[in-house]
């Protein structure tokens, strides 16, 4: 929580990297860098809180991916998972 706050308050955004959710290691904590794709995908992810800057725990990266976001478990299909660019979150 504090990480999100400091990131937004400092006003900078995480830079997009060429790593998507599908390649993130199990159990790792990652931060969403960018979400791209069709409007429906972006709106659906946005409604669930998968937006740039947010912290996730990766329970399973693919087939389908499962992430933990603020206590909720969210299943994400392959297409959607590869549209979410993430970066390692340093604790």
């Amino acid at each position: 929580m504090s990480l999100i706050r400091s990131h937004v308050e400092s006003g900078d955004r995480p830079q997009a990297q060429d790593r998507t959710l599908t390649t993130a290691p199990r159990n790792s904590k990652v931060r969403v860098a960018r979400v791209s794709g069709r409007p429906r995908l972006i709106q659906r992810l946005a409604a669930l809180g998968v937006v740039p800057g947010v912290l996730l725990t990766v329970i399973k990266p693919e087939g389908p991916a499962i992430i933990c976001l603020g206590g909720a478990r969210i299943a994400i299909g392959q297409t959607a998972a590869s549209a979410i660019e993430v970066e390692a979150a340093d604790e």
Partner: protein
């Protein structure tokens, strides 16, 4: 009625449980305008006033991703209920508050039900509802809907809120977005035609988020198009200035606001791995997920078929036995027995009523299993597992369930399409499900296969099942590329509900409502079709029979069968007995074999006369009901067994000889090919009038005709390919 209340919430937030608690058993089921989505409503009393309460479809937010999700946002903006009860999953505040925040931003009168506080407590999440309520400007009530806790407090809170003037929540979206919101609000505010939309700020935010429901609404109002153009320019402006789409910018700031709020009301939430995460990894595993799903489906199907079969027999024998005798006795008391009235009552009305009721045990069993799968949380995992491979051929992941159910019976399979998310997905699945070979088609395959393919009987029957799947997948693929093409398919993203014990009350209400809906909805169609067939059989057209006392060959039925028999000649089965059997198969596939027996006049058995009195009959009905219960219990262990292709050999030698001769004659000596073509036709044409009734209830009359005629065409083509193709290859 002194107020309307809408109940909103994310899927799996316990919204339906809470709705059931508030209304009790008295609920009305209707449809949302222009949608085949059930609209549940009911009433409750609080503070001396009666409130009408409507259950909105589950949604994660007010920006609609599918047409169904648009229902909630459209209803809230257009109908402006007096109070909105928003159900929040206390164990997932982050995810749930998005909807709450949006409803507060829309300036609606809101009460928040902080549900599942017991789960939150267990996870060590301690929520200060006063802080939460102050931040949102709403009253917050703690509830555990599954146990009925907090319901009375919630009712009282609704009564208090009803007279209140709502406060509009304003979230700061940061300099860039706020500048564009400001200019868009101005262009909305200067147009009096848009006043009906309510808060201009909320309308502006929804337009910037590219909400389809709001866009459509604005487009209909005077001055709307200019505002839509301005909104598009503002969206582009935000994207250019921030590097992110406006929808993302809005969501990012809103969630940032929410995460601050959550930190204030509950402290930081630890993301800890739990045992259920381990279970989820196994259930959705790339290699294990599908086998586990198939195993679960196997149990569901066997339960639906085996455990309900004794009750099905009981319903059938009760109606055709004692009930029919009572009806005849009643008619003879009125001196109406023996004539066409008796025939109409027994063969038309009672046969039709029986045709409806005979499905009730099967549907009840299926709905019970489905409700259990949904309520435990497994259904969401199954959808996640199946989505990818099914989507690859253009069929939604959740379609797998109705398709599997279709192996048992097409009628419940059509209703099982309700578990899908969008009307497009439901329709596509409804159109392909009838190709899955249902249990009633099996006797036809068995009869013909044992006559013409004695050595490879099981192989031929199995091939029919495989062919059914192949046709279903092919048609699904073609539909998804043509008539039901999707430009922007709904992505698979869903919150996994927590695993839990099913709640008896929730399951019972669901099962009862769905079963009642079948009796009311499809019952009429089945009854009408049954009467129509009786009338065809009763009308003498040729010969010297009289009304309701004529040979089948001379009846209107026989004439119709003869009329379309030539169209089946290219398929190798153009004799009127064969077309007549197919015609009766439209009523129910169960009767194809018995109709053949009747038409070839080999079954001389007369229905046995009973001399039972009324008391004996009632006694028999009760005993046989108890026996059905015992058989069900005995059948449950067998559910895990594997006697799916248990082909019984009954002594049908006389019928077999007649059928063999008939198929050899009709096909010019290629009996095997003609029989195979006949089986393919039975597999692919309309399953039965009950399925048609179910289809019409779910998808409307127009699509019903598309389905019926399409299946007939596909069956004809399939049988043509088998017979003519086989002849060309020199087979048979």
């Amino acid at each position: 009625m002194s107020g309307t209340v809408a109940i909103a919430g994310c899927p799996n937030s316990g919204k339906t449980s809470l709705f059931n608690q508030l209304t009790g058993a008295k609920q009305k089921v209707g449809n949302w305008p222009g949608q085949t989505v059930d609209r549940y409503s009911g009433e409750f009393r609080s503070g001396g006033e009666t409130f009408e309460i409507v259950d909105l479809p589950g949604t994660y937010g007010l920006v609609a991703v599918s047409a169904e999700e648009g229902i909630a946002s459209r209803y809230l903006v257009d109908d402006r209920p007096d109070v909105v009860v928003t159900v929040v999953d206390a164990s997932n505040l982050n995810g749930s508050l998005h909807l709450v925040a949006q409803i507060a931003e829309a300036g609606l009168n809101q009460v928040v039900a902080l549900n599942m506080v017991d789960v939150a407590d267990r996870r060590g999440i301690d929520i200060d509802e006063d802080v939460l309520g102050r931040a949102l400007g709403v009253e917050v009530v703690r509830t555990v809907a599954r146990k009925g806790q907090g319901t009375d407090e919630l009712k009282a809170a609704v009564a208090r809120a009803a007279g209140r003037t709502p406060t509009q929540l304003v979230i700061d979206y940061g300099g860039v977005v706020e500048r564009h919101v400001g200019s868009l609000v101005e262009s909305i505010a200067v147009r009096p035609g848009l006043a009906a939309l309510g808060s201009p700020r909320w309308t502006a935010l929804q337009l910037l988020a590219a909400d389809v429901a709001t866009r459509d609404r604005v487009a209909q109002l005077p001055g709307g198009h200019a505002v839509l153009e301005a909104a598009a320019a503002d969206r582009d402006g935000i994207a250019a200035e921030t590097g992110f789409e406006a929808a993302i910018e809005l969501a990012e700031h809103r969630f940032n606001w929410i995460s601050h709020l959550v930190a204030d009301v509950s402290g930081p939430i630890e993301m800890e791995m739990t045992w259920s995460d381990q279970v989820d990894r196994v259930l959705t595993n790339k290699f294990l997920g599908i086998p586990i799903f198939l195993a679960v489906m196997w149990v569901v199907l066997r339960f639906t078929a085996d455990a309900t079969a004794p009750y099905l027999d009981w319903v059938d024998s009760t109606i055709s036995g004692p009930v029919a005798r009572w009806a005849v006795a009643l008619l003879s008391a009125m001196s109406l027995d023996g004539g066409w009235v008796e025939s109409m009552v027994v063969d038309g009305v009672l046969a039709g009523v029986g045709g409806v009721l005979v499905f009730v045990p099967v549907l009840f069993g299926l709905y019970l299993m489905l409700a259990l799968l949904e309520d435990t949380g497994y259904m969401a995992r199954a959808a996640a597992v199946m989505d990818r491979s099914m989507r690859a051929v253009g069929i939604p992941g959740k379609a797998f369930l109705p398709m599997m159910v279709g192996f048992g019976c097409t009628v419940p399979a059509i209703y099982a399409t309700r578990t899908l998310d969008s009307s497009r997905d439901r329709l596509l699945t409804g159109l392909i499900t009838p190709f899955m070979s249902c249990g009633a088609r099996l006797p036809v395959y068995v009869l013909l296969a044992s006559i013409f393919f004695a050595g490879d009987k099981s192989m031929v029957v199995f091939a029919m099942y495989v062919l059914g799947i192949a046709v279903a997948v092919l048609i699904g693929f073609l539909l998804s590329k043509t008539a039901l093409r999707e430009e922007d398919p709904a992505p698979f993203v869903m919150v996994l509900p927590e695993f839990r014990m099913p709640n008896a009350r929730t399951v019972w209400i669901l099962v009862r409502q769905r079963t009642a809906s079948f009796i009311k909805g499809a019952g009429t169609t089945i009854l009408i079709a049954s009467m129509a067939v009786w009338l065809l059989l009763a009308l003498p057209v040729t010969g010297d029979g009289s009304f309701a006392d004529t040979d089948v060959e001379d009846s209107a039925f026989g004439v119709v069968a003869k009329g379309f028999a030539p169209t089946l000649a290219p398929l190798g089965f153009g004799e009127w007995e064969q077309s007549g059997a197919l015609l009766s198969g439209f009523v129910a596939k169960e009767v194809v074999v018995s109709t053949m027996a009747q038409l070839y006049a080999v079954d001389g058995a007369v229905a046995e006369e009973s001399t039972n009195g009324f008391v004996d009959d009632v006694g028999d009905i009760a005993t046989s009901f108890v026996a059905a219960g015992r058989d069900t219990l005995l059948a449950i262990p067998r559910v895990i067994g594997f006697d799916f292709l248990d082909l019984e050999d009954e002594s049908q030698s006389e019928l077999q000889t007649a059928v063999r001769t008939s198929f050899e004659d009709s096909s010019g000596g290629k009996g095997q090919l003609a029989a195979l073509a006949f089986m393919v036709f039975v597999l692919l044409y309309t399953p039965c009038m009950a399925a048609v009734g179910a289809f019409r209830q779910e998808f409307g009359t127009r699509w019903m005709w598309v389905s019926v005629l399409g299946q007939a065409a596909i069956a004809w083509i399939g049988a043509f390919i088998v017979f003519q193709g086989g002849s060309l290859l020199g087979l048979g």
